[in-house]
């Protein structure tokens, strides 16, 4: 089992906070320098998706599409057919929300080498309200064949994820958050597409997280430990292909699990894990995530609390699922 030593790499207590999207912007700059085939597209959202610095440094390889997400996805497919490695940058609600058909056919069916960056995911998008909070993106991407789906946990992992997406041959969708979230990983923390990492060992319950809420899972694990419950925490950043092996190894020990995600609790990480367990090793599973509802305006913290996606909620879900064993 690949275990990331907490002491070395996971500094969740003293974590500084940075928006995950910053990691995207940094990686694009690195890629701009390293690989002239990398091109970046945006649909009138250069700054907030963090595509802007690349655009300023490499204006020739930056394509401003205006507010036209369908066309942007198709242009990216064409660029890929012409040997480029395009990064499509918008908010997840619009891309792939408004470009799903283009993603399915122009990109995934053709296996065009397109990378789709979905910004502003999760309820923590906050005051913009329901329409801007992407809570369905993992479900609508995960179901498309040939597409890799990733939810990195912090800015550093987002940087690595972006680089890994560029190196991977084929379509990749990855999502990030708007707000600052704790940086839990460091440069040396390993990242590999499709490889989940056990970042805390335990035997009573498995907490499987994707995205910034991994931090809530780690904090809940500490609280559980204080009650004598040892939780295993898995960073399952890749939703598809799911690292079923790492997850099964853990639940065969703990016999129950909780999924933690800023996404509807249908079709996303919870769906993927439920499907894998049902096929291979059915055990009680609880979901921390959006309870099949639209979001609303509020501060990120208010909304995470209202819709039960905090450390406290992970804690309660763990207690509940252990009782169900």
């Amino acid at each position: 089992m690949k275990l990331v030593k907490l002491s070395d790499f996971w500094m969740h207590k003293t974590a500084e906070k940075r928006p995950t999207r910053d990691g995207y912007g940094e990686a694009l700059l690195e890629l701009g320098e390293a690989n002239p085939q990398v091109v970046v597209l945006t649909a009138d959202l250069a700054e907030s998706t963090r595509a802007l610095p690349f655009g300023e440094k490499y204006p020739d390889r930056f394509i401003e599409c205006g507010v036209a997400e369908q066309n942007m996805m198709g242009v990216a497919a064409g660029l890929a057919l012409g040997g480029k490695i395009p990064f499509v940058s918008s908010y997840a609600v619009f891309s792939p929300g408004r470009s799903w058909d283009q993603l399915r056919v122009s990109v995934c069916y053709t296996k065009a080498n397109v990378k789709i960056a979905g910004a502003h995911t999760g309820i923590s998008v906050g005051p913009d309200g329901a329409t801007h909070q992407a809570l369905e993106d993992m479900a609508i991407t995960r179901v498309i064949p040939n597409l890799v789906v990733i939810a990195p946990c912090d800015a550093e992992e987002t940087r690595k994820c972006t680089l890994a997406a560029a190196a991977y041959q084929g379509p990749v969708y990855f999502r990030f958050a708007r707000e600052k979230t704790p940086v839990m990983t460091v440069k040396q923390t390993p990242f590999e597409i499709g490889q989940a990492y056990v970042c805390r060992e335990g035997y009573d319950v498995t907490l499987i997280a994707a995205g910034p809420l991994l931090h809530a899972a780690l904090m809940a694990a500490e609280k559980l430990a204080a009650k004598g419950i040892e939780a295993e925490v898995i960073n399952s950043h890749t939703i598809k292909p799911l690292d079923t092996k790492t997850i099964l190894r853990s639940v065969k020990k703990t016999h129950c699990a909780v999924t933690v995600e800023e996404h509807q609790t249908t079709g996303g990480l919870f769906g993927a894990v439920a499907e894998a367990l049902a096929k291979h090793y059915p055990v009680p599973l609880e979901a921390v995530g959006m309870p099949d509802s639209f979001g609303e305006s509020g501060t990120p913290d208010e909304l995470l609390a209202k819709y039960k996606m905090t450390e406290k909620d992970v804690f309660s879900a763990a207690i509940k699922v252990i009782k169900r064993k």
Binding site: T42, A43, D44, L45, A46, E47, S48, E64, C65, G66, V67, A68, Q70, N71, V93, F94, G97, R98, G126, P127, D128, G129, A130, T131, H132, E296, S297, G298, T299, E302, L303, K306
Partner: protein, 308 residues
């Protein structure tokens, strides 16, 4: 009912002040678009051309307003509050948890808003649907509408909407004309000669990433609209008289639907915001809000603020 021009100019100014106050309290939101459209919204709700009245907010024959570029909702909220749809005191709840004034306007509350927005380019299609409903209600066969079945299956609110005629006003931004859905909708309305719908376009020449003619050029804009069989009127979007005249013309059209291109200055009324695309999506800081309010109260130094 309808206000005179002087009154309306004053109202538009108050609306602008409220926009500044709302945004600084919210701590997030859009400045440029809302300030730029205050005169158009004032004309729409106070000018007497559109059939809009808080007392008839559920009337089946009320005119409909679709705010397609819902990020400029602060100007809609402020206008609705001024018009009496809900208390002005509620404006300060913008973007707060539990508020009826969500970050992008929606139809979940009884505050005079007919639909939800956020993703650009979805408004005109809905306006066309509303206009078609109105047209269908006017058909002879409307007499056949049996209340029993309809009541059971459509629900109460919808029932109130049948068998009457209204005009649909769709507010849109220039940025929305980048979206393919907008052109699909324009084409359908052109096919149907849908004179029951009128677009009021915020032609402020900015979008998020910069000036429209750099990010995604729309010119020759009116040529495009005309090629899609729309009747086009261009007005100064800060001249309420011009706006109302165009609205009257649009309502009187016998065939084509009308697009009123309202040439506006984004951030209008606040010197340091005017025509700066950077103000698309950020609120003023408290200090900036103070300066903005001062400028609005004194009409840019032309008069002394009552408050100072």
């Amino acid at each position: 009912m309808a206000k005179n021009l002087q009154q309306m100019n004053k109202i538009a100014n108050s609306i602008r002040q409220d926009i500044i106050k709302m945004l600084v309290t919210a701590g997030s939101g859009h400045s440029a678009g809302p300030l730029g459209m205050a005169d158009v919204l004032t004309a729409l709700y106070f000018g007497g051309v559109a059939n809009l009245d808080p007392k008839k907010r559920h009337s089946p024959d009320r005119d409909r307003v679709i705010l397609s570029n819902a990020h400029i909702c602060p100007v809609l909220y402020a206008t609705l509050a001024h018009r009496g749809y809900f208390p002005k005191s509620e404006l300060k709840t913008l973007r707060k948890l539990g508020s009826r004034l969500q970050g992008h306007s929606n139809s979940h509350f009884d505050i005079g808003i007919d639909t939800s927005g956020g993703p650009l380019g979805q408004g005109l299609s809905q306006a066309i649907g509303l206009a078609l409903a109105s047209r269908l209600n006017n058909k002879n066969d409307a007499g056949r509408l049996g209340p029993s079945f309809a009541e059971a299956s459509v629900g109460r609110r919808a029932m109130r909407d049948v068998r009457r005629n209204y005009h649909t006003w769709c507010l849109m931004s220039d940025g929305e004309f980048d979206e393919g859905q907008t052109w699909e909708a324009l084409m359908l309305a052109g096919k149907l000669d849908l004179r029951e719908v009128t677009i009021l376009i915020d032609r402020n020449n900015i979008q998020i990433d910069g000036y429209t003619e750099k990010i995604m050029p729309l010119e020759n804009f009116s040529d495009k609209l005309k090629a899609f069989n729309w009747f086009v009127i261009e007005v100064d979007g800060h001249n309420i008289r011009e706006i109302l005249d165009a609205m009257k013309k649009a309502k009187a059209m016998a065939a084509n639907p009308t697009a009123i291109i309202c040439h506006t200055i984004p951030g209008k009324g606040v010197d340091f915001m005017e025509s700066q695309f950077e103000w698309h999506g950020k609120p003023p800081s408290p200090e900036e809000a103070r300066r903005a309010l001062h400028e609005l109260r004194t009409l840019g130094g032309k008069i002394k603020s009552e408050h100072e």
